[in-house]
């Protein structure tokens, strides 16, 4: 049963991520990435991390991809003539991607495969996760909070209209 669920959502993730990469319309790419992220969230739950799976759906599809869709509609980039730049560049990029894949597979099979421990209640429980996050990893947690604050301020400043634009930008106004 677990194998069946894994195969179903793994195939869904791979297929929809291919659509993300090859589709010309960025809106469709974004919606397809939503499917990919949902499938990966299911796999997180399967791996005994239900909290991270919920966070994946909340943060990624709830916040980040909505931001992407919003910017796509704001910038009006509906379509590009061809998805990739030139044939040569495409071949090089695909080759590099394949090399990355091959390297990771090699490292994976190089490492000794160790049998998986049975899933413990301690791993799945929120209590242990929270204890570690707010104990040993409290300082990184606070730093990440500061990083998000800085990012929000920086994004606001960067996306603001410049005081004296070089060219008139009236048609950008909503």
């Amino acid at each position: 049963m677990e194998t069946l669920i894994f195969l179903l959502f793994a195939l869904l993730a791979v297929g929809s991520s291919l659509v993300v990469v090859v589709h010309k319309n960025p809106v469709y790419s974004t919606m397809s990435l939503v499917v990919t992220l949902f499938s990966v969230a299911v796999l997180f739950v399967l791996l005994g991390a239900p909290f991270i799976g919920a966070l994946q759906i909340l943060i990624y599809t709830g916040a980040i991809l909505v931001l992407f869709l919003f910017v796509i509609m704001l910038l009006n980039v509906t379509r590009e003539e061809s998805a990739v730049s030139q044939q040569k560049v495409q071949a090089g990029g695909a080759l590099l991607g394949a090399l990355v894949f091959g390297g990771m597979l090699a490292v994976l099979f190089w490492n000794a495969r160790r049998p998986m421990d049975p899933m413990t209640e301690e791993l799945v429980s929120m209590k242990g996760l929270a204890r570690e996050m707010f104990g040993q990893y409290l300082l990184p947690f606070e730093i990440v909070g500061m990083l998000l604050l800085v990012a929000v301020i920086g994004a606001t400043v960067a996306a603001r209209k410049p005081p004296q634009p070089d060219k008139p930008v009236e048609d950008l106004e909503p």
Binding site: T30, L55, L75, M119, E132
Partner: protein, 101 residues
């Protein structure tokens, strides 16, 4: 019947390779960003799989931090794209060569 952890790692490698190929070949800045998000998620999947294998929470906590950093990166990057679009009227990365020598 439990799925071996190496299957998850192979899936993670596949997703990462697809994302890297997309990030290298796409021209649209937003599509490149989407591919980068895909690669980040593939890395997250590998971290969760290793956390499951070793029965520890550390991988899950790192995934939490990666998600926060990805959110910050998306916010900053999209704001930069809006700023570039104001100036250039395009986010085609072949035409944004402001910093090319």
């Amino acid at each position: 019947m439990s799925v071996p952890v190496s299957w998850y790692l192979v899936l993670s490698a596949v997703l990462f390779a697809i994302g890297s190929a997309g990030a290298l070949t796409r021209r649209n800045g937003i599509s490149i960003f989407l591919s980068i998000e895909l690669m980040l998620n593939a890395g997250n999947l590998a971290l969760i799989a290793y956390a499951r294998q070793w029965g520890q929470h550390t991988g899950q906590i790192i995934v939490f931090f990666v998600m926060a950093v990805a959110a910050a990166e998306a916010a900053i990057g999209l704001a930069l794209f809006i700023a570039v679009y104001r100036q250039r009227r395009t986010i085609d990365v072949n035409r944004i060569n402001l910093m090319r020598w």
